[in-house]
Amino acid sequence: MLAYVVRRLLWLIPVLFVVAAITFTLMHMVPGGPWDRAKRLPPQAQANVERKYGLDKPAWRQFSDYMIQLAQGDLGVSYQQLNRPVRAIIWDGAKTSGTLGLIALAVAIFAGIGLGLLAALRQNTVLDYLSVTFATFGASVPAFVLGMLLLILFSAYLHWLPTGGWGTWRQAVMPVTALSVLPTAYIARVTRAAMLEVLQQDYIRTARSKGLRENVVVLRHLVRNGLIPVLTVLGPVAAALVTGSFIIEYLFDIPGIGRYFVTSISARDYGMIMGTTLFYTTVVVVANLIVDILYAVVDPRIRYN
């Protein structure tokens, strides 16, 4: 198991290298440079800033310098934020984005599994139909469209909630709701289907017939087995929450990493572009790894060698 985790983490290195190479190539293909202004810099000043940031060197040299820096954990400095280290900017943004994403993920997991389990245990009752209806509609409206509809209703018409910003719970309600409805619906659907399948298994009947209390049957036998397919979708869901949050950050004016990424491309802030892309890639790979480890925890039949 440990060897497996280590191998998967080592696999992250070539992935990051290739992603870095692709991003580096693409971002240098974007026309224009970081110091192009309506009013051009004097040629000498231009040459000076370029030398200062190593942009006068050939492209391969810039890339290898960057990779050597990266290996030492240094992501360089941002051009647009007065030489602030990229690592510090990403860390600040990640705290905000991470908080938003994790709250939304927690809501989605608890509400989704709860709703799906309840629907499966009360199959073909009003409760079941309500939860299926919610899951069907909720799973097809993206966060950003939902966010807009919430804004219209609660900010533009009712004036109950602020349109944007970050820091108070009132500012968090709409972005968290917008982000979590889709994964909640999705998780509820998968949970309901998985639980219904497990409910038909012989071991559930055995557990009941040997006189186990219903909550023991549900928690020990049903939930533990029924959660495996749910875990499968958690990886993509977590990754989508992290990367998907950036349109929501833009919409609700939340100072997370997503916003920096969008502005850094238009500013040709090379260090920021590389840093945020590599950061997101790491998050996606690690999220998938965590899910794979969770499989082995929940299902003893799965072993990694």
């Binding site: 290739v18 799973a139 807009m148 533009a156 990367t243 833009y250 969008v262 790979v285």
Partner: protein
């Protein structure tokens, strides 16, 4: 011997069941048509497609004409869905936008399907070395954050119509490639493939008549579920300033323009987001219906 045949005759009659022969697709079509939400989705999409095709006929005004004597009107008899900040008729812009959103959705999936098919098939059929190579490429493409790749590509090549669906297709293929590879690998273990091989069918024949048709179901379902993502991606890109350049009335553009006027005329953003939500929902319903219809186990 002939006297012993009546029993065999009865047996043969019993084997030739009275019901009609059901092909996979005929059966799927029948089960799809019994699925009410799926049919609702299909009808909505057909209506939208008709509206998109007839956009120049059913438009009430020129969608790009800026009528300065009717700025920011609320919905009324002349302007069914109101007008925007520049006095353009929202209804006309919406029906023209349907053309763009629907074609982005469908064409994008065509691009994604082509790449996914090539990569998935090469991986599954090309032997160990190619499989490893292709799957590592897919892993990396999968790990690369979608929206970031889109933003980079569109910043480089500019947001033209062709580029938008090419770029979205370019980030959507890894899921399809993985699915196709997985399907083919598991089908190769099945008895009917073994039987075909034992009867001396060539490799090409096995691929074309046994493997490909059987992967088609799940692949179509996955492709249909990809359409809403493409429509969403176009809207999201427009929202961060990388959509089709104005005055092209794509739905993403309408949402973006509406958002900037959300306080004074919330109806602008309302109608365009509803259009996007309804379209995405309809495609999801169709995808759900297809999945149930094409999976024989859910019968």
């Amino acid at each position: 011997m002939a006297e012993a045949m009546p029993g065999a005759e009865a047996l043969r009659e019993a084997i030739e069941l009275p019901q009609r022969y059901r092909s996979l697709w005929g059966d799927a079509a029948r089960r799809f048509s019994r699925n009410r939400t799926a049919m609702l989705g299909l009808i909505v999409i057909l209506i939208l497609a008709t509206m998109a095709a007839l956009a120049p006929v059913i438009q009430r005004h020129d969608p790009t004409f800026q009528n300065y004597s009717s700025l920011r009107e609320s919905p009324n008899g002349e302007f069914w869905l109101g007008t925007d900040l520049l006095g353009r008729d929202q209804w006309s812009r919406l029906v023209h936008g349907a053309r763009i959103s629907l074609s982005v959705g469908v064409l994008t999936e065509a691009v994604a399907l082509t790449i996914g098919m090539i990569v998935g098939l090469t991986a599954a059929l090309g032997g160990r070395g190619l499989d490893n190579l292709m799957m590592r490429v897919t892993d990396i493409a999968y790990a690369f954050p979608d929206l970031l790749m889109l933003i980079l590509l569109l910043s480089i090549f500019g947001p033209s119509f062709l580029m938008i669906f090419f770029a979205i297709g370019l980030v959507s293929w890894p899921t399809l490639a993985r699915l196709i590879r997985g399907q083919i690998l598991s089908l190769q273990q099945r008895d009917f493939v073994l039987a075909a091989r034992a009867m001396g069918a060539s490799r090409l024949r096995i691929v074309v008549t046994h493997l490909l048709p059987n992967t088609l179901g799940p692949v179509i379902v996955a492709a249909v579920f990809g359409i809403p993502f493409a429509i969403f991606a176009e809207a999201a890109l427009a929202f961060i300033g990388l959509g089709l350049p104005p005055p092209t009335p794509s739905w993403g553009r309408l949402v973006t323009d509406g958002y900037s006027a959300i306080r004074s005329s919330p109806h602008l953003v309302l109608f365009s987001t509803l259009a996007i939500a309804i379209t995405m929902m309809s495609f999801t319903f169709i995808g759900d219906g297809l999945r149930d219809a094409l999976d024989p186990r859910t019968r």
